[in-house]
Symmetry: C2
Subunit: 338 residues, 2 copies
């Protein structure tokens, strides 16, 4: 039975969505759930739920990391052997082999740093990356890195390509995934120094390299994996979210301030508009995985509700079953021998 640790203190509205989503996952996917966090808080949510016959247990972690944890203080809490925050305790369960994966809706940077310190990197990986799944016109695209590594070398981007491709294949089930390199134009020769130096590496990597891509190719579904440095990826992700929000707010406002016919129309299309929420909400797409650390760690959006937590657990379960970690170790090993 796959054993997934769920951080009960992760989401903005913790612990309710986290605990409820974990219960849903235990029921629907038949996984074992280990809830880590403030046990009294977890138990008060569990008390109101029917968990009969489900494999759910709790591990106490009285502290938690929040968006306020930054810099050296965060590094200390992420690193210290005796840290009692839910991320450190949860990730240690994975490290000790007591669980197969760790899932959190908490602070991405904190999860990344805690995983990096406690699990270490896969041998040969210089920079582990944060890899969310972007919604596209035709499905989804793994984009990496989106923030862990603001400064990258060409070789880092090559490794992102190798890891992202493997992940798309093993977890999203895409055969021979198409890998694109995010640039300011599709033609070869476009790009900044980093992109221009990375292109030949990806071309000769044996990956199914598509070439340079722009936002419209990523979102249009032309590639399954999009490689970029963490600075560009982060700016891209956050701008996309902001534009989406601006448009949706604008539509709402226009309908609200419209005449009576517009308002009636607004009521009628409301259920349909709900479907675009999916496009704007990364948590609907599962969760971002940390690629390159020695263990499976998945990070969902802070805004996640129980359903989003459940789908993050499903992504984690898929990654465990597909044996992503061993495949990743082998692929990196192989690439180093080239």
């Amino acid at each position: 039975m796959t054993r997934i640790v769920v951080d009960a203190m992760g989401s903005d509205n913790y612990p309710t969505p986290d605990v409820e989503g974990a219960i849903m996952a235990a029921r629907e996917f038949g996984v074992e759930i280990i809830l880590v966090g403030d046990e009294s808080k977890i138990k008060s949510v569990l008390a109101g739920q029917n968990t009969q016959g489900l494999q759910i247990r709790t591990v106490n972690a009285p502290e938690m990391l929040t968006m306020e944890d930054k810099g050296e203080q965060l590094a200390f809490k992420a690193r210290h052997r005796d840290s009692q925050n839910s991320m450190a305790v949860g990730i240690d369960l994975v490290k000790k082999g007591e669980a197969d994966a760790f899932v959190t809706m908490g602070n991405t940077g904190a999860a990344w740093l805690t995983a990096l310190f406690r699990l270490g990197r896969i041998r040969g990986v210089d920079k582990p990356a944060i890899a969310p799944i972007f919604p596209t016109a035709s499905g989804s695209c793994v984009v990496l890195d989106i923030g862990a590594n603001p400064d990258c070398e060409p070789n880092n981007l090559l490794q992102f390509g190798i890891m992202g491709s493997l992940y798309a294949e093993k977890v999203l089930g895409i055969k021979n995934p198409k890998v694109g390199l995010i640039s300011n134009g599709e033609e070869e020769g476009k790009g900044n120094e980093l992109v221009r130096a990375t292109l030949p590496l990806l071309k000769n990597s044996g990956l199914n390299f598509y070439g340079n891509v722009e936002g419209k190719e990523v979102i249009g579904g032309k590639v399954d994996v999009a490689v970029t440095d963490g600075f560009t990826g982060n700016v891209m992700l956050k701008s996309s979210e902001a534009v989406g929000k601006l448009i949706v707010d604008n539509i709402r406002e226009t309908i609200k301030n419209g005449n009576i016919l517009t308002k009636i129309g607004g009521l009628l299309v409301k259920p349909a508009l709900g479907s675009i929420r999916k496009l704007l909400d990364p948590s609907e797409q599962g969760a971002a995985i940390l690629l390159g650390v020695n263990g499976l760690v998945l990070i969902g959006h802070g805004r996640s509700d129980a359903v989003a937590v459940k789908s993050a657990v499903r992504v984690a379960e898929n990654a465990v079953k597909a044996n992503v970690l061993d495949a990743m170790r082998n692929a990196i090993e192989k690439s180093l021998k080239k």
Copy 2:
């Protein structure tokens, strides 16, 4: 009377929107228009229009630059003294002092290169930038650079800040514009190497520096000017456009495939949805200006219709009247003396 050269061969549907928009501008703003391009084509559009009493003349330029013009061949056409394409001929009119500004809906890269070769840079400016106006929740934001300079040094970004601030003040009429530095997080210390090295320069520049900004601050209207390298700016611009298009297509599709009530609702909200087109269409916001070249050059979107061409001419006229170029020369001069 302000004299504006309009490239009649610029837009995707040239020359009709270009010529019609120019006529509208001549009528509404009382500017003199010089239409440059294939004279026979221009005249056949002019023939169908009432131009009585308007100051409109044509200058023949039998060739044109298209999206196909790239690399060395483009550089040759942009640079050669005897080039007969509409951009070269039009920009030469500005250079010779026969016109005050050049407006085109054509290939951005081609316009940039032609302007750079033919007009040269303002003394002290290392890298001229392309500066479009982004729509925001509360108005607009000048973003630069969005593609001319994929690799930048901190000093280039400082100059972008100086030029962008001046432009926002003189042309958009914003007093003491707030300048932000695009980064992967708001806190000081966030950013890639370039951003971290640029922050202190902007802080000590005398500009109204807001600090690091993410997409949500730019689009949320927290700053009037957002500074970034041309690679990041381009990725940001194109991703934003792509996300906007995906959402709108998705809404349309959902309504089209919905039940009868959804369809009726769709018809009722349709006029209201039109207002978001403005958010997705950069041409509605006027045009991007080239900042740092020795002359006023404005570039609108290829998809522009006549109204968009007209508003690009208005932006050009505002820039002429505000004497942006002299102000820019003085500001750069002053910054060099620091």
